[in-house]
Symmetry: C2
Subunit: 161 residues, 2 copies
DNA sequence: GTATTAAGGATATATGATATCCGTAATAGG
DNA sequence: CCTATTACGGATATCATATATCCTTAATAC
């Protein structure tokens, strides 16, 4: 079980978009070059973010993407779910119903106990991701990244907005 | 991102094995029939559990599987990891290194901040699964399952051990 | 000795992830 | 207008993995 590469790409792209000035846009081409990933495929991830209302795309020359709302109002979970979907990692196929001892018309009042435990873990994962916003990430990155690289990257991006 | 069906199968099989009497074995064929899944493929999941030291296989007629240790000492995480592997669901491909502004010889003292957040969520998921044992599951199932079905199933299994 | 079982290798099939290409509509600037 | 540029979405190709089956081997109970 592995998340798509697009999740990683989307998170990095959102981190960059969170650092953009007000009403500035950055094109897919530039986001792809900055992260060294194929432009056409990255485009699919950005479209998913757009459909989820996390980013906004603008057409035409000088167009591109920007965040659709404040960085503090966008969680990791929002981004992960936009790309990966909202389905739990555990899918219950109700194999308990294949039990030959079970009356065929029998109907269950609760989901399978195994599924409940797996879904609880899934919810713990989501809760953790829900607790981290792009604003949090920006603060962490500023502490992590060497000032020279930070400044140079900001400028590289600014030249293209 | 979705866990394999084998994870669900493995959990259900362990739940059954946890209800077996001391030194009783149940064959792959019976576990497959009880859950309505293909015997040959289920066998792969049971082999993974065996390799992880969660169950023990016995050869020959009247052979089969039993738990390798007490139900209270086997967690959901043990079983999930045996089938699914121990790798985090988030794989960091270090795309930050593709940043054209970055000096090529530059070396990072910490993992990427995005990866750290994703791995923290992964750990929350694991922590949740680590907190549920087969003994817990057995108690829950006994409350969940109608007594008639519970008894009939126990007997079905007992006839085959 | 015979039947039965787990174990594991080899292989086929289906599904989903990854990647590319193309057409369309919108938009900025000349 | 006209042109270049952009997001967007559909169609398709390629590759990795999950799913599934088959076969051989070694151990074991009777």
């Amino acid at each position: 079980m592995q998340l798509k590469n697009q999740v990683e790409w989307a998170l990095h792209c959102c981190a960059i978009l969170a650092g953009l000035g007000q009403d500035r846009h950055l094109a897919t081409r530039d986001l792809a070059e900055l992260h060294g990933v194929p432009k056409e495929y990255l485009s699919k991830a950005l479209q998913a973010l757009s459909q989820a209302g996390i980013v906004e795309g603008t057409l035409g020359p000088s167009g591109g993407y920007r965040l659709a709302r404040a960085a503090g109002a966008i969680s990791f979970l929002d981004i992960v779910e936009a790309v990966e979907g909202r389905q739990s990692s555990f899918v219950c196929t109700e194999i308990r119903k294949n039990n030959p001892c079970r009356p065929s018309q029998m109907c269950d009042d609760r989901p399978c106990a195994i599924a409940r435990a797996m879904w609880a873990a899934d919810e713990a994962w989501r809760k953790s991701l829900r607790g981290v916003t792009l604003a949090d990430l920006a603060r962490t990155l500023e502490k992590d990244i060497p000032p020279a690289l930070w400044k140079k990257t900001r400028q590289w991006v600014a030249e293209r907005t």
